[in-house]
Symmetry: C2
């Protein structure tokens, strides 16, 4: 009976038996009780998604695709706070030690809780995002270097010679910074130390205002992510400079609001949604066979979307663009 419900492929049963069982299921609108199933199978059908800040639209995109992918594989996504988990409080005991979830997706590489995240990832089947490769851990990230390179090259190609980078804490930002620097070095141009912004628009706003207020003479900025770019955008305006005439701006990541800024934000799109879906797929595989290793999601490739926050300088050289290029509105 149970084997009919669950579609056991090794089962052979008379068609009439199967039919009568299926009729009963339909008539009673029978659904297996999830708790009983979970107890018996030692599987909850739950995946945890641990985030630092649900409000970041970049995460929202990942979460949405992750949720859809999970639902397709009959898993539900439960929302967790990285901070709560990392502080080994009630939540840690219940979720991680208590095995409330079958697997965990954890954001890392943001400069907080890195050690705790690693420990948790070893206790439960997990995929860690954004972090550098870690022995014993399954990590997954985007092609940060390529994206930062495309952003920086776009500015170089537009004729800029003095380009800054607005960053944030953690290894994700550091990888992007290195590629920014490398692109400038390659072009024989000077690079500047990263401006210490943050992962929120407010922090990057303050950092940008301070940086420009100190008399810095850059003509272009690369921002670590779209929220930071938004803060840089308002910061440039607050500092009394014009975009793109005085200071051009490119965002790594292309969140949905980029096109609605004034002027619209030139950005390098990265496949965040795909990363979320792929991570769910991976963590479900890990439940049955644990595996470590690093995946850098290079496809679909980062893609430059040119909008109004950058333009070719009158005096600038005009080369081909290195990345795929697109433009909207």
């Amino acid at each position: 009976m149970s084997r009919i419900v669950n579609g056991d492929p090794t089962l052979r049963v008379r068609p009439e038996t199967r039919a009568s069982v299926e009729a009963a299921i339909d008539m009673l609108n029978y659904t297996p009780h999830p708790s009983a199933r979970a107890l018996r199978n030692a599987r909850t059908g739950l995946l945890g998604f641990a985030l630092n800040d649900v409000n970041d639209p970049i995460y929202a995109e990942m979460v949405e695709r992750a949720q859809v992918e999970a639902a397709q594989q009959n898993f539900s996504l439960i929302l967790l706070n990285t901070a709560e988990l990392a502080q080994r409080g009630e939540a840690f005991r219940e979720i991680v030690l208590g095995r409330r979830v079958d697997g965990l997706l954890i954001q890392s590489g943001l400069g907080s809780w890195e050690d705790a995240v690693q420990e948790i990832a070893r206790a439960v089947p997990s995929v860690v995002f954004g972090a550098d490769s870690l022995p014993g851990t399954r990590t997954m990230r985007l092609d940060d270097a390529r994206a930062a390179q495309i952003a920086t090259r776009h500015l170089i190609d537009a004729g800029h010679t003095s380009i800054a980078y607005v960053g944030a804490p953690g290894t994700s930002s550091e990888r992007r910074f290195s590629a920014y620097r490398a692109a400038l070095v390659d072009a024989g141009l000077p690079w500047l130390p990263a401006i210490d912004g943050g992962w929120t628009a407010d922090e990057s706003h303050e950092a940008t205002v301070r940086f420009l207020g100190s008399g810095a003479q850059v003509t272009a900025i690369v921002a670590v992510t779209t929220t930071a770019a938004l803060g840089a955008h308002s910061g440039i305006v607050a500092a009394g400079r014009r975009i793109p005439d005085d200071v051009a701006l490119v965002s790594i990541n292309d969140a949905w609001f980029a096109r609605h800024l004034n002027p619209p934000l030139t950005a390098v799109w990265l496949p965040l949604g795909d990363l979320g879906a792929l991570a769910v797929h991976e963590v479900i595989e890990q439940i049955t066979e644990p595996r470590d290793g690093e995946t850098v999601l290079t496809e679909p490739a980062p893609r430059l979307v040119v909008r109004g926050s950058t333009k070719t300088l009158a005096t600038g050289r005009k080369d081909d663009d290195p990345g795929g290029q697109a433009s909207d509105r």
Copy 2:
């Protein structure tokens, strides 16, 4: 033993017994098995949050506070798709009929799935957001009328006499529209039919461009929510008008990005986070004693935050502002 773990208050036990049990719990790092508990108690400790669009930053704020509140009461939040649920597919059968969650938070009033939401809300202890009062259902919403009134009055007080409303499908927007219209009628000014935008920035952008392109001579716009205001913002710019000189703009809701627009967006803040937390509290109560009725969260009150997208017209009257008033940056 079990009663010690769960802190049964009626239990009287020798202190030494209690101590030795607690020592054992600590030593073994014992956590009750959630699935077994769920099976025995017919409670999963799970609350579902059904959303149409996780990407809307307005929801993100609610979800975040709801998650924190749920965690404090030892519940986890699982993320659900309203569309999937409403279409009575696999998810409906599993989550609603299968009682995978103890309670449900559902967004409604957005013009889709209203009937299905109502049906689901009757099958599972639920709190429905944004909807009008429904018999047999626990509904909860913000003070839409007051917020729209404050927004509209702000523009009237600044001297505007031709004010439009950019709306979206559903009853939430209709309530705001009614208050917009009432405020204008009160002031003896003409009102216009709602401009049919949508809940996304892209839709409202298109609607605004079309509206302004048709030669409409309004000098100010009230937008149903911050995402719509963002679309209106970029739409006004795309139509070649200046903000606030040609067209002023006020948003109902004050999402985090409002202050970073250029010019920054004047907005009426509403307690969305509080609504999320309160809803979790309510739905947990409903699990033990079902109740219907409507709650309109009027406190904390809507609050006008004046930024650069509005200004007092040179020729305009200058009255006091009707709502609490604040301004930042």
